[in-house]
């Protein structure tokens, strides 16, 4: 696989520099190493701050969700690898407006241990933090171990809702409760068609035969629970949707938000093919789609594949999703 890059080791620093050059009105980097991005107006006095973070290579995740009505800051790791606790702490300080800080990120060991360390350090600085973990990938653990699931594209819903709650002035515990509520009601599953190549190692993240797909794949190319023949768009949409509907326990009369997410190399046209079938299936089941997102929201460099996320909606959740938000990568009017 070929890449448009310079020195592999400089990859992250350079693209972050590019993001800053492109969006100086919306983002700023408070530390000299530029491994933290925060809203241009951070810290917002009296507002709960939201810090996210994780490995690079997933744009627009995570850096893309820093903005008004979304997260306030992000700590940026190397490709597919956690930011350090020192970086998380810096991000925490840079967004702290006096109302406490929510840590909202995906459930990955490296991130968890580093954010946990930052929690202790922030406390020493007098900043209270609460952690909520994205853990929407139903393929990663059975329902009984839902707390151990990894976090994937569905965290978008939590960013949007928690960001809206923070913006309207909710307290730290309230914002955390919103995020927790969203995550408890979100389920995602993905398929992969081709691997990703890390710039530094130049090795494929996994190997897959011609005509094969990996069902339940993670956004770092983690294996899923099944490897089999590539199915049609309709078949893929069907099996993922059935699984998500069962996991959420939703049925006729319920409402959902749908996210059809591309992993990087999959054309937008193909994502709309998936959405089409998801829409048909949910409609047949009497479940209405009150909000949808189709596009690239959480990628894995140049991996081909897609994921489908469902969020069970109620009035409150839908209202939070529909609140205005703006980052260089995400706009809700």
């Amino acid at each position: 696989m070929k890449k448009i890059i310079n020195e592999p080791a400089a990859f992250v620093d350079e693209f972050v520099e590019g993001i800053l050059l492109a969006h100086p009105d919306l983002l700023k980097a408070p530390t000299a190493d530029r491994r933290i991005l925060v809203r241009a107006d951070a810290p917002v006095a009296g507002k709960v701050g939201i810090v996210t973070g994780g490995g690079s290579g997933h744009l627009p995740l995570f850096k893309g969700y820093v903005g008004r009505g979304l997260c306030d800051g992000v700590a940026i790791g190397n490709v597919f690898s956690s930011p350090s606790s020192a970086q998380v702490l810096e991000a925490t300080k840079a967004v702290s407006g006096g109302a406490g800080v929510l840590y909202l990120y995906g459930n990955y060991g490296g991130d968890v241990f580093n954010f946990d360390l930052a929690t202790d350090m922030a406390e020493l600085e007098g900043i209270r933090t609460v952690t909520v973990l994205g853990r929407d990938d139903v393929a990663s653990q059975p329902k009984e171990r839902a707390a151990d699931r990894r976090g994937v594209a569905g965290i978008l819903f939590a960013y949007k809702a928690a960001g809206a709650a923070a913006e309207r002035g909710d307290s730290l515990d309230q914002v955390a409760a919103v995020a927790e509520d969203i995550i408890d009601n979100t389920a995602t599953m993905g398929i992969g068609l081709s691997p990703t190549i890390l710039p530094t190692t130049a090795k494929p993240s996994f190997e897959l035969g011609d005509g094969e797909m990996e069902v339940g794949i993670g956004i770092h190319g983690e294996p899923g629970f099944h490897r089999g023949e590539l199915e049609t768009a309709d078949q893929i949409a069907e099996s993922l949707t059935e699984r998500l509907v069962a996991d959420l326990g939703i049925s006729s009369g319920d409402r959902v938000a749908v996210l059809v997410n591309g992993m990087g190399a999959t054309p937008l046209e193909e994502l709309y093919l998936l959405f089409r079938r998801v829409h048909q299936l949910l409609t047949e089941k009497g479940i209405s789609i009150d909000k949808n997102y189709v596009g690239e929201y959480a990628t894995s460099l140049e991996m081909a594949g897609a994921s489908i996320s469902l969020l069970a909606l109620n009035d409150e959740r839908l209202a939070l999703l529909n609140t205005p938000a703006e980052s260089p990568f995400f706009k809700e009017a």
């Binding site: 597919f80 690898s81 956690s82 930011p83 606790s85 490296g110 946990d116 530094t200 090795k203």
Partner: protein, 209 residues
């Protein structure tokens, strides 16, 4: 061992340890995301650099803290964070002591393992680094009669690696593989074994007790 001797021993050991990066990366590729090789090579390089500039008069604890900080930030990851925390916890056992000997090593190792267990919400049998670390710490503390403590620790760690191969992962990335993790060797436990082996071969004379 005083701080300076420890610092030299650590650097000798790390130079050898990094030669296992590829093996560890490949094991992590099969069971996780393949970055353990990078964590080890960048982490060892950063720790070595940190020790190169540390004053000769540093205490053993200061040596360990310098390593912990360097390792934590070089390639932050599960292993980097857990190991850094473990080194911190271990060094608390030593306090300001200017030299460390005998069972201070074993007590360090046990405190380190306990730190990982606590932070990682994990225990022996979860198929993690702890499956090698806890038995090794016990062996260091109470080596079989007549046995060299380090050799005993290596044997214990090796048994841990072998036994845990047949277990299902219950923590970290590997746990997502569920049943598919059975039969694959844990990269973290292997890393710990390779560390002990590197210590032995790089510092044969210094560590024979």
């Amino acid at each position: 061992m005083n701080g300076n001797e420890l610092s030299i021993a650590v650097r000798n050991c790390l130079a050898e340890f990094t030669t296992y990066s590829e093996e560890l990366g490949d094991l992590d590729q099969a069971l996780g995301d393949g970055d353990l090789g990078i964590t080890v090579s960048l982490g060892a390089a950063a720790a070595t650099e940190a020790l190169d500039v540390l004053s000769d008069g540093a205490t053993p604890t200061e040596v360990v803290l310098a390593c912990a900080k360097a390792f934590a930030n070089a390639n932050p990851s599960t292993m980097a964070a857990l190991v850094a925390g473990a080194l911190l916890a271990g060094s608390r056992v030593w306090g300001d002591s200017p030299t460390v000997e005998g069972d201070q090593i074993g007590r360090f190792a046990r405190a380190a393992a306990e730190s990982i267990s606590q932070r990682g919400k994990s225990q022996v049998g979860d198929k993690t680094i702890l499956d090698a670390m806890f038995p090794a710490a016990e062996a260091l503390l109470a080596p079989a009669a007549g046995a060299n403590a380090l050799d005993a620790a290596i044997d214990a760690a090796e048994r841990g690696v072998v036994v845990s191969k047949e277990l299902q992962s219950r923590r970290g990335r590997a746990s997502w593989l569920q049943e598919r993790s059975i039969g694959l060797q844990d990269p973290g436990a292997t890393a710990f074994l390779r560390f002990l082996q590197s210590w032995k071969s790089a510092n044969a004379s210094a560590t024979a007790s």
